[in-house]
């Protein structure tokens, strides 16, 4: 027993970090099965900035990426640049920022829990929880800017908590919180209540750093000034905020939904890219540790009330939007729940330790088995079931289609790509590594001038529906469309035909037919 405690003390965090990193990085190119359009956009914009210093629309060193007219904060793309430089433009390089962010979150959760409860073991158990929990792994395996923001927010909270607003850690804390504004729109709403919580609890300590306080405020104002200026000069960059501040009679119920055990432990989210098949946000057995954690937080750790307040303000950015249960907006809340689960499991172990050795050993073995069973289930689900069941949600097939197009592209003057649901242009740009300088020039007089964007055509690519009776007369044209637009029997009967290629999914279902006309 002593030996186990010794090893845990010495190597516990390193082992947990190693586990967290492995769970996040394993099969990163295969699962999720394809990049979704937001990931492709982050990746291509990073590539564009790397090659030209400008985003896809030719904006020099952008604060926001116009992307699909949703003006994403650009920090994720900037951090992706080194990975693209080293590994090239591919799925792994785009997702690695999120992998590392997710791993850093484990460190911050450890530090935060240890700082809150002054107990290393609660820190380790909390770190272990977030290292293996479904939500944390899932959001770290795809390019979610929310995951990057989570790391920055957790870092900010940790340093503010460590400083208790009376020493220079405040600088680090506020710096990280300010940086989170460059990562994710919801941070803009979240950091205000977070700062208010700290001011309400530790505000009186501020006089101890009154000499540096002005400098901290000025420093942070300078840091967020580019965002403010961009928002004023280009009000369209506020697009993502426009769907927030929707207060209605259902707002309180929406707020409550983020505490609803069925959402957290069983059902998860119906958002297409934010759920893992058959899993909630947390493992269902963690429900009991969560309840125990809440109980002890209220009963025993009355001085740690800042955690309660942080938990209460964390769902605000999500509660004032239209969506009902939208996990990406509440990752900080989930990470605080991981701390509660860590606390709950610690208290359970302490309680079990008071029981006879046989009961203690049996109980610990049962918990370990339950954890391993769930983890094995999760890992195999992530590796096999998710790419299979959720392939539609992740725009599976775009890579394969673009690769087929690329093989034949040079033989045709025009490529007509049917676009109904996905945004194929970004996948063409991404997977063909389309030269950004050329793309920027080609859209200079079309897409760049349109707000909102209406035309997605560039170079020889045209994005519209394919209508075979008309299009069959075209020459040196490559048509890319589903079976409904390019039915095989009709296509085959055409004498002008040069090529037929089919791209299928795992089950052999046709994703797209590629037809070349002489």
């Amino acid at each position: 027993m002593d030996r186990i405690i010794q090893i845990t003390n010495k190597y516990g965090l390193i082992l947990i970090l190693l586990l967290a990193f492995c769970l996040r990085v394993a099969w990163i190119s295969k699962s999720p099965p394809s990049l979704n359009w937001d990931e492709a956009s982050f990746g291509y914009n990073a590539y564009s900035i790397l090659k030209t210093g400008k985003d896809e629309f030719g904006v020099k060193l952008p604060i926001f990426l116009r992307s699909f007219d949703d003006y994403k904060p650009a920090l994720y793309s900037y951090l992706t640049i080194p990975f693209i430089y080293l590994l090239g433009l591919n799925e792994a390089s785009v997702r690695l920022v999120s992998v590392f962010s997710g791993t850093f979150s484990v460190i911050f959760i450890y530090l935060l829990a240890k700082e809150l409860f002054k107990n290393k073991y609660i820190g380790l158990l909390s770190a272990l929880s977030i290292a293996i929990e479904p939500w944390a792994i899932h959001f770290s395996r795809a390019a979610f800017e929310a995951n990057l923001a989570l790391t920055l927010v957790l870092g900010g909270i940790y340093f503010l908590l460590k400083s208790k607003l009376k020493d220079n850690y405040v600088v680090l804390g506020t710096l990280l919180l300010s940086l989170s504004l460059y990562a994710y729109t919801a941070s803009r709403i979240l950091i205000i209540p977070i700062l208010l919580v700290f001011l309400a609890i530790y505000g009186k300590n501020l006089f101890k750093i009154r000499k540096t306080l002005y400098l901290i405020i000025i420093f942070n104002l300078i840091l967020v000034l580019p965002i403010i200026i961009t928002n004023i000069v280009h009000p369209e960059t506020l697009f993502r905020l426009s769907s927030t501040f929707l207060i209605s009679s259902s707002t309180p119920a929406r707020f409550l939904s983020y505490f609803s055990p069925i959402n957290l432990f069983v059902r998860g989210s119906s958002e297409p890219t934010q759920h893992i098949p058959n899993f909630g946000m947390f493992f269902s057995f963690e429900f009991f540790f969560w309840v125990i954690g809440i109980y002890f937080l209220l009963k025993k750790y009355t001085k740690e009330k800042i955690l309660i307040f942080l938990i209460l303000v964390a769902p605000i950015p999500a509660a004032i939007t239209w969506n009902w249960f939208y996990p990406a907006r509440v990752l900080p809340l989930f990470s605080l729940f991981s701390i509660l689960i860590g606390l709950g499991s610690y208290q359970t172990i302490i309680y079990l330790a008071t029981k006879p050795k046989i009961i203690f050993a049996f109980s610990i073995l049962a918990i370990a088995f339950l954890t391993l069973y769930n983890l094995a289930n999760l890992v195999t689900t992530l590796r096999y079931l998710l790419p299979y069941e959720d392939r539609g949600n992740w725009q599976y097939g775009m890579r394969e289609i673009v690769q087929e197009i690329a093989k034949n592209e040079s033989n045709y003057n025009t490529i007509v790509f049917e676009t109904r649901n996905a945004q194929p242009f970004i996948f063409v740009l991404f997977y063909s590594k389309y030269p950004p300088d050329m793309y920027q020039k080609q859209i200079e007089n079309t897409a760049k001038l349109q707000i909102p964007r209406k035309s997605f055509d560039f170079g020889k690519y045209i994005f519209r529906d394919v209508y075979w009776p008309n299009d069959k007369k075209d020459q040196r044209t490559l048509l890319v469309a589903p079976d409904s637009s390019l039915p095989l029997d009709k296509v085959k009967s055409n004498s002008n035909l040069n090529l037929i290629k089919e791209v299928n999914d795992f089950e052999g279902n046709l994703l797209a037919r590629i037809v070349g006309l002489r």
């Binding site: 119920a253 609803s260 069983v266 059902r267 969506n323 094995a376 096999y384 299979y388």
Partner: protein, 426 residues
């Protein structure tokens, strides 16, 4: 004669089950009587659990009122008479401490639910070996196909993740946690309309608690565990026991299957209310009272004055058709009333407490078939002009006059229109 909200088909089936013939008025009155008696008993039971030193009368009044105005209790008393009686009996058992009587009460609940719902509504069906096997096979198929038709997962791991017993255990655990579904409990319609997440049908589901009940119950649980009450183990035990019917049936029937949990939950809530009453700072009390008043007003105005917003569209139509027939009955005419959207015959005879020989219940399609003379047709728009889109632009058969219309809020049958038309063919 008629008291809103309209009677539902399930109630009639229940009455049939027990061979009872009640008028809507009697049905509702019995429910209301049980609500009054239940709230009196509940305040006494809650008093026994909390034993306040001060504000005794205030406590009794507040807890009794809380029970009486509870949405779930109101839903049960008004819609599900048998559950209302069982809740009343449970309160009697608790008050007179004959705890052994909980067991027959539980058995009656399960029997009654089992008789009311088809076996397809049983959650336990999902745990059958064959159903578990189907699920595991589907999972295996996915794992096999994704790796190019190969099994690459090591055998020991396959043995664990494709294991029926573990899958069943996981399902039971999930069913238990699914009881704590705040959307289903406090805002089923909002959450369903926005995201279709709740997995429950949009109509026929009312909130079971007011929004503020949830934090109060959580606070009450905390107080119960903290304040070393003698009864704490008993209340917790009672809660788990009362979950048994819910654990046997599918989750979508939660209001009907988990009704016994209402008592332990409402026994916990007065602890929090009592604590708030005792606070020197009266702002929380004022806040809770204000929320209480607002949500009760909102709930009951919807409950009595907009039943269509939460009830299935056909319940309202049954009542309105019965009303129309009652007010316009002419023995010299023939009546054909549709049963396209449900058993109109059963519902009309319940509302009117009699049957007429010249009233027939059957589907009809006047766009295809020539109507009978001297006959009133009562049916959906689509039955008059043919079903499909843009019904208002279609023409009626000759010599058929629409004499009245009943306007519903939703189409009970797809592309048959929202309205009930009453047409006379001369």
């Amino acid at each position: 004669m008629f008291i809103t909200p309209p009677v539902e088909l399930q109630e009639i089936q229940l009455l049939n089950l027990f061979h009872l013939a009640l008028t809507p008025l009697a049905l509702r009155l019995i429910g209301i009587i049980f609500r009054v008696l239940g709230s009196l008993l509940f305040s006494l039971v809650a008093f026994y659990f909390v034993k306040p030193n001060k504000h005794k009368n205030l406590f009794l009044a507040a807890t009794g009122l809380m029970f009486f105005l509870s949405p779930w209790e109101s839903l049960i008393s008004t819609f599900y008479l048998v559950q209302s009686i069982l809740i009343f009996l449970l309160l009697v058992v608790l008050k007179f401490k004959k705890r052994i009587l909980l067991i027959p009460l539980l058995l009656i609940s399960i029997f009654f639910l089992y008789k009311t719902y088809a076996p397809t509504y049983l959650f336990t069906n999902k745990l059958s070996s064959s159903n578990l096997l189907i699920e595991i096979n589907d999972r295996q198929k996915a794992d096999y196909l994704i790796e190019g038709r190969k099994f690459v997962i090591p055998r020991p791991i396959r043995g664990v993740i494709y294991n029926k017993q573990f899958l069943a255990g996981n399902k039971i655990l999930n069913q238990f946690i699914s009881f704590f579904d705040f959307e289903h409990l406090v805002s089923p319609l909002d959450s369903y309309e926005l995201i279709r997440l709740s997995g429950i049908s949009p109509k026929g589901n009312l909130p079971l608690f007011y929004l503020w009940d949830i934090p109060l119950v959580i606070y009450g649980v905390y107080l119960l565990t903290k304040e070393n009450k003698n009864n704490k183990k008993y209340v917790i035990f009672l809660f788990f026991i009362s979950l048994i019917p819910y654990m046997i049936f599918e989750k979508k029937l939660l209001p009907q299957t988990a009704f016994l949990t209402l008592i332990p939950i409402l026994l916990i809530e007065p602890l929090a209310i009592y604590k708030i009453i005792k606070l020197k700072n009266k702002i929380p009390l004022l806040l809770v009272s204000l929320l209480f008043a607002l949500s009760i007003f909102s709930y009951y105005t919807t409950f009595y004055f907009s039943p269509q917003t939460y009830q299935k569209p056909e319940s309202y139509l049954y009542e309105e058709i019965s009303k129309w027939l009652y007010n316009n009955y002419d023995p010299s005419k023939t009546y054909i009333i549709t049963n396209k959207f449900g058993p109109t015959d059963k519902m009309v005879s319940f509302y009117l407490q009699k049957t007429y020989s010249n009233v027939n219940f059957e589907e009809f399609d006047l766009s295809e078939k020539i109507p009978q003379k001297n006959t009133y047709y009562v049916g959906l728009e689509g039955e008059f002009v043919g079903h499909g889109k843009n019904l208002e632009q279609r023409t009626l058969p000759e010599h058929l006059n629409i004499v009245d219309k009943i306007t519903g809020q939703e189409e009970p049958v797809f592309e048959y229109g929202k309205e009930i038309w009453i047409g006379l063919y001369k």
